[in-house]
């Protein structure tokens, strides 16, 4: 063999590339065989669908699905049978794509947006004093930090934890000290809902337009002292609602999104003016800028 190589190298003489070609071919064959054998010996099975789904997802790694990033969700879908419509930022298209890879029908999920259930601006909500601590709502409510400037124990703290938590820039702090949701940017991932220590942000279907914009469970008199625009639990809206969509639990009304027809009756009867219709507010408000936040349509 080596003798032959030597002969070849010698014989090629003026045309040394023949030897080179032969040498490279031989090395190539050797490693080709080695790799083939290797791939057989060290074979690892990976479900190709994981990669496909991971590619199809939005790649925001926002965690809205409840898993630690897009790839983790993809693995959960394939290996643990997680639902295929959990990718909020990706929307319908992504969910459909994931469902297609998994070979199931796309489950319809109406896109949701975040709504801030507090209208207690500095003028409306009574204040107990001033807070000088770490600028994070959660820091203002930890034991020993006093529990927020406002008298109302359920009101927005206004330190912008939700704004910082939003991965899409869909929340901005308004001039009135309350966060505003920019509906066009909101993907309904729910990060803000999780971040808010007061639990005043919740997700609602995009079509829902009528909301009780107060989260306070204070009783009538205490509520009136705490905030001029708080829900006092008077039940007028409950009686007025033709769709029986409103309930009052511990002095606070809430609207069932499924039953609500957005007829606006409750908005008119509320003595505190805390039930708002975004649609009507929007209609009566001439937007100077299409990107204007829906929540600030006063």
């Amino acid at each position: 063999m080596t003798q032959a190589l030597h002969l070849l190298a010698d014989a090629s003489g003026d045309v040394p590339y023949i030897g080179a070609v032969v040498v490279l071919v031989l090395i190539g064959i050797f490693f080709g065989v080695l790799l083939y054998v290797g791939s057989r010996v060290f074979a690892v099975d990976v479900d190709p669908r994981i990669d496909q789904i991971a590619d199809a997802l939005s790649g925001a790694n926002c965690g809205a699905c409840g898993y630690g990033g897009c790839r983790a969700y993809a693995e959960a879908v394939v290996l643990k049978g997680a639902a295929t419509n959990l990718c909020a930022p990706g929307g319908d298209e992504t969910c459909a794509a994931v469902a297609k890879i998994m070979g199931v029908e796309a489950e319809a999920a109406e896109p949701k947006v975040a709504v801030v259930h507090c209208k207690g601006t500095r003028e409306r909500a009574a204040s107990r004093g001033s807070y000088r601590g770490v600028a994070d709502c959660r820091a203002a409510v930890v034991p020993g930090a006093g529990g927020g400037e406002k008298v109302c124990p359920h009101g927005c703290l206004g330190l912008g934890t939700c704004v910082a938590a939003c991965p899409f820039g869909a929340l901005v702090m308004g001039p009135d000290g309350l966060p505003m949701v920019i509906e066009q940017l909101c993907t309904g991932c729910g990060r803000c809902v999780e971040a808010c220590p007061r639990g005043i942000i919740s997700l609602h279907p995009k079509s829902q337009q009528t909301f009780v914009l107060c989260s306070s469970h204070l009783k009538g008199k205490a509520q009136k002292e705490a905030c001029t625009i708080g829900c006092i639990g008077c039940r007028r809206c409950v009686k007025a609602c033709p769709a029986e969509a409103i309930t009052v639990t511990s002095f606070r009304a809430s609207i069932d999104d499924e039953k609500c027809t957005n007829c606006g009756t409750c908005v008119e009867v509320c003595p505190q003016g805390i039930i708002w219709s975004f649609e009507k507010a929007r209609a009566s408000y001439k937007k100077p800028d299409p990107k204007a936040a829906s929540a600030c349509a006063t």
Binding site: A9, L24, S39, F42, V44
Partner: protein, 202 residues
Amino acid sequence: MELFRIGFGAIFVYNFVLAKFLGLCPFIGVSKKMSSAVGMGLAVIFVMTMASVVTFLAYMALLWIGASAFLQIVVFILVIASFVQFVEMVVQKVSPALYEALGIFLPLITTNCAVLGVATLNVDTFKIGTGPEEWSVVGGFFASALQGLCGGLGFMLAMILMSAMREELESLPVPKAFRGVPVAFVLTMGLALAFLGFSGMI
């Protein structure tokens, strides 16, 4: 003494990353966490040592059959690429966690210029069969392996220093424009400037 000079030089003075600026891709890419940096470092040490050995043998074979220098780089690339492919398969099978951590960078070692760098450097430094400072074949073999090993060690040293810094960097208020890779390059600049201090030693 000569071997000490080779080793010390490859680790500090001619550090592949910080003095020769080879292999920056995995250096920047995998140095975010100390654990994966160490894994990558180990992988590079292994590949560089083995590549030194394998390419040395290949080079000897080339010399032997008389088809020498002009085939050098082609053959080296072929050998290293195949070899890394093989290592990748083994790692994936043996340690899936390490495979996950290294991600795309394990196959990228194939194109890690540091590996090809050490192979050509070996040939250039030890000048077996040519040049005035001739090494014996056996001596050249061990010197090549040592240079590969220490080149890898130097790479790992740089990786560890870098990853310790970058772990802290995560919590610092780096300007948005610099976040991630840019600031890593600034750090690399600082490290390279610091390693200038080694120049002239050995």
